[in-house]
Symmetry: C2
Subunit: 185 residues, 2 copies
């Protein structure tokens, strides 16, 4: 099972401003440009999405539920029941991520998409991420919600490929060396 | 006058571990690989190097002074006199960076190389950096000395080019939009 990250950050490593705003990201692209930066091809390979409560609530705020057709697991230690308007859309998990990964693997999933800063950090700290596609937006925003956080030890990556786009976005794909997910195969 | 940054960071944005160690950077390359990641070509275009006290002291710790043949300015609010063993190698400046940049420009320099995290941050905050070459090492180290810091406002960049290397290093060159250096031309 692959456990994948696919996310954009500012050049200084933030996924959103402190208040969650991604105006800098939305405005960095050209609204008329049909370029999707590989998201469509990526999401077509994904059969389950794992996210934290913040990303989940952001998803609920969109006019349409953006994860339709995919199994979605929300990791939260505070949510006990799925909010009514999200009924049938998501499952809740209290973690820990090692247990969740083992469960999803045993249920036959091929590729899990990990979304949101804290969730990505939890999976990385547990050595559970197998690959990351990082898109760097050509802007420095100074502060905000960081993609990466503290680790127990260095994580070595293999660079697979890098693509550049007319918008100035630079997208690099990495595989994590020695991902622990082999343990739950 | 160009004011340029040329620096390597971990994928999570650190230029060194908390104690200054760059073992993760040194070990990431192949010691037998003659690849210099464009440093030779870059430094040949530079006629003055500006750094902070930490980078200066790191430079003094090498067997040979690594900046021989270049004018070096060390920004420090605590150093009043050049240490004896660095006599003739560097000049001191107490800042502010706006004044230093204006002075160096009036003295006819073509390209200044800004080295060290805090110094890069000061010049960026003042809108004085014109271009940055950032080399991403394929490793996450979790914490350390960050390249970037707080800003007064967003800084927009134009992506110029990205190169990838066999070692997995990914090097992107950016120009800063609306750099204030035009004001001191």
């Amino acid at each position: 099972m692959k456990i994948s990250v696919f996310i954009a950050t500012s050049l200084d490593g933030f996924i959103a401003r402190q208040n969650g705003d991604i105006d800098w990201l939305v405005n960095a692209g050209d609204a008329n440009d049909p370029e999707d930066y590989g998201y469509g091809a990526f999401i077509a390979t994904v059969d389950c999405i794992v996210m934290g409560r913040n990303t989940f609530e952001k998803g609920l705020s969109f006019p349409e539920w953006p994860y339709a057709g995919k199994r979605v697991v929300v990791i939260s230690r505070t949510l006990n029941t799925t909010p009514e308007h999200a009924a049938g859309k998501v499952e809740l998990s209290a973690g820990p991520v090692e247990q969740l990964a083992a469960q999803l693997n045993s249920e036959g999933h091929g590729r899990i998409y990990i979304d949101g800063g804290k969730t990505v950090q939890s999976f990385l700290r547990a050595g559970l991420v197998t690959d990351m596609t990082l898109t760097r937006i050509p802007i420095l925003i100074g502060n905000g919600l960081p993609l990466f956080g503290e680790l127990r030890e260095d994580i070595h990556l293999n660079h697979i490929e890098t693509k550049t786009f007319r918008s100035g976005f630079v997208q690099s794909r990495y595989e994590v060396r020695n991902a622990q997910i082999t343990a739950v195969r």
